[in-house]
């Protein structure tokens, strides 16, 4: 049981995190309403449902949604609950359907969500006198929108627009999701459950470069990935802009082409990037020298981009993964992990990049394996009595008075704020946003709030 959410938020804002935020069921109940009930939540990528009738079943915690491309090609997000008695009208995870028929009384809906068939309509309802099918639709979330093919929904009728919500983070999102005109091809997800609080993964991907040299030492030792050594990792920039933040690696000197080729992209893809990315986006890689790696958007959507060696001949190939930390309870999370690759990439590259993904991340990934062991262990011990009194130290980069130890990166070509060196700037920013949501505030539209105070 927690005493007062404003006390918790005050602690979080100064980088001292009450350990039970990673285990307390009451805090989780409040998160369901105030964070997941209001934030924009990722559901699916358009490429997962390429043809009319294609659908995938997705959740926002306990709410089940059918993400379907209707017969006219429009993507719909339908609440998976029959208007009559509330049965789920779709119980497969993926498929193709023109209609969804409820197994209980056979009410049938078109893939637009409109009620199309009601058995014994005349006998049971007096036909149109009792029930006007044409005006009845499966519910939809109040807000649905997409960015670069990524479909989001918010359960909040008063949510800011998706554009406003993503804000300046879109600058960084494009690195992962817009490498050519065609955009991404997304496959998956792998799904598995970990006995860890959802925030731990979200924070880790947002900015924890400090764990990389130690937690992932084994992958360097076996020659899977050359970058995570501490000496290299601390040179990367940690950036945060509006609703999310991420990590980068600093690359050896060279032009844009040379730097992108260094991580393993073929020439045809580099041309695509140059067409899609603004001069400022390109400058982040070429002039500033920072290549995006992991990132998180509040609340629970993360990305990762690494470039491991995938065969005996030393072939280095990058991969992109999109992942969601879907909470099951305060102490359990279902991980959804997708593989993403640019649609216009050469076939050999798609295959090699997929291999790179499976070796590093996902249910069997050699990086991911060690992360989860840490997060499970934290959550287990955060359930204890003494954990309620422990405030976890998340103040790296600040002095004891709370002043910044280092100056932000000068001439940062992107939006937001960036630092090099080790520091928990992004984790604090992410949890500051979380705190505002938990208080019932709207940090996206608030004029007097910033997730990145100096």
């Amino acid at each position: 049981m927690f005493t007062d959410i404003s006390e918790i938020v005050a602690d979080v804002d100064r980088g001292m995190i009450p350990a039970n935020v990673y285990s307390d069921e009451e805090i989780f109940e409040l998160e369901k309403e105030r964070v997941f009930g209001r934030a924009w939540m990722f559901l699916a990528h358009e490429s997962e449902v390429p043809e009319p009738g294609d659908y995938v079943l997705r959740r926002i915690l306990d709410d089940s949604f059918i993400v379907v491309r209707d017969d006219a090609g429009q993507i719909r997000v339908l609440f998976n609950m029959c208007l009559h008695r509330g049965m789920q009208v779709c119980r497969a995870e993926v498929g193709n359907a023109s209609f969804f028929r409820c197994p209980y009384h056979a009410w049938t809906y078109k893939n637009t969500g409109q009620l199309n068939g009601v058995p014994y309509h005349k006998d049971a309802y007096g036909g149109k006198r009792g029930l006007l099918k044409e005006e009845m639709n499966l519910l939809s979330p109040p807000s649905v929108d997409s960015y670069n093919g990524m479909i989001f929904a918010s359960l909040d009728e008063d949510a800011p627009s998706l554009d406003e919500y993503l804000g300046d983070f879109k600058f960084f999102l494009d690195f992962y999701t817009r490498q050519s005109e065609e955009g991404l091809e997304v496959t998956g997800p792998q799904r598995w459950r970990i006995r860890a609080n959802w925030k731990i993964g979200a924070e880790n991907f947002a900015g924890d470069t400090y764990h990389t040299p130690h937690t992932h030492q084994s992958v360097v030792e076996v020659g899977l990935f050359r970058e995570p050594k501490a000496s290299k990792r601390k040179l990367g920039a940690l950036y945060f802009a509006d609703i999310g933040g991420g990590t980068t690696y600093h690359l050896p000197p060279g032009s844009f082409d040379e730097k992108v080729a260094y991580v393993g992209y073929p020439e045809s893809m580099i041309e695509g990037m140059k067409e899609m990315w603004s001069p400022e986006q390109q400058a982040m890689i070429s002039e500033a020298g920072f290549m995006p790696s992991a990132a998180t958007i509040l609340p629970n959507l993360s990305f990762v981009h690494n470039w491991p060696q995938i065969n005996e001949d030393g072939l280095v190939v990058p991969f992109i993964s999109i992942r969601q930390w879907q909470p099951v309870s305060a102490t359990e999370t279902e991980v959804y992990s997708w593989f993403a690759v640019d649609k216009e990439a050469p076939d050999w590259y798609k295959k090699a990049s997929y291999k790179a993904y499976l070796m590093c991340f996902g249910s069997s990934g050699m990086f991911e394996q060690d992360d989860v062991e840490n997060w499970t262990s934290i959550t287990t011990v955060a359930k204890g009595q003494l954990a309620k009194r422990l405030k976890l130290h998340s103040r790296m980069g600040l002095d004891r008075e709370g002043e910044l130890l280092h100056e932000p990166v000068e001439n940062w070509p992107g939006p937001g704020r960036a630092f090099t060196g080790f520091g928990e700037y992004n984790q604090r920013s992410l949890l500051r946003l979380w705190g505002q949501y938990m208080l019932g505030n709207d940090p996206v539209r608030a004029k007097d709030f910033t997730p990145t105070p100096l």
Binding site: R91, Q217, S218, V222, M366
Partner: protein, 171 residues
């Protein structure tokens, strides 16, 4: 093709091979386990999904939990041999229960197609509930001078959402 009878020596040899393999995995003799594979091994575990009407094709197109060649299997084993593979240090206690073994003639000379059920019990630490993974494996075994080698393995896992923290284990 017709199943090779249980009373046939080949069935007995194959069954013994799978039981010995399970012992190697459960005692973490991974280098010995790697020796059971051919150079051209394809080791796959597709992602399973719930589809309407049928179990046919109930795998997710284009996505696997494992899609390994000998290089990546070796890397996984090599990683466990470092002192920094925390996920299995301390190690899980595992049991691979292998049953329902069915042996069929294979396509090539000295090749057999082998189906088996496997139930993996995995216990970690002293406070967590154990995990289970249930699957059917379809193997292609090839006879060699040093006994059978696994040339292909497809693992059809029964859960669409795995209830284990990672696949730092093999099936």
């Amino acid at each position: 093709m017709e199943m090779i009878p249980y009373t046939n020596d080949t069935h007995q040899e194959v069954h013994q091979f799978l039981v010995v393999e399970a012992e190697l995995l459960d005692s973490r003799r991974y280098q010995d386990w790697l020796n059971l594979f051919t150079e051209d091994i394809v080791y796959r575990m597709p992602v399973r999904v719930t589809k309407a009407h049928t179990l046919e094709g109930s795998v997710l197109y284009g996505m696997d939990h494992f899609d390994e060649d000998l290089y990546s299997l070796k890397k996984r084993v090599q990683r466990f041999e470092t002192e920094h593979a925390w996920t299995e240090d301390p190690p899980s206690r595992t049991r691979h229960f292998v049953t329902n073994v069915r042996v069929y003639p294979g396509e090539g000379d000295g090749e057999f197609r082998v189906k088996s059920y496997v139930l993996l019990f995995r216990s970690r630490g002293d406070t967590r509930d154990p995990d289970f993974l249930s699957a059917e494996r379809t193997d292609v075994l090839r006879r060699s001078d040093s006994g059978f080698k696994i040339a292909n393995r497809e693992i059809l896992v029964d859960e669409s959402v795995l209830k284990t923290q990672n696949l730092a284990v093999f099936l």
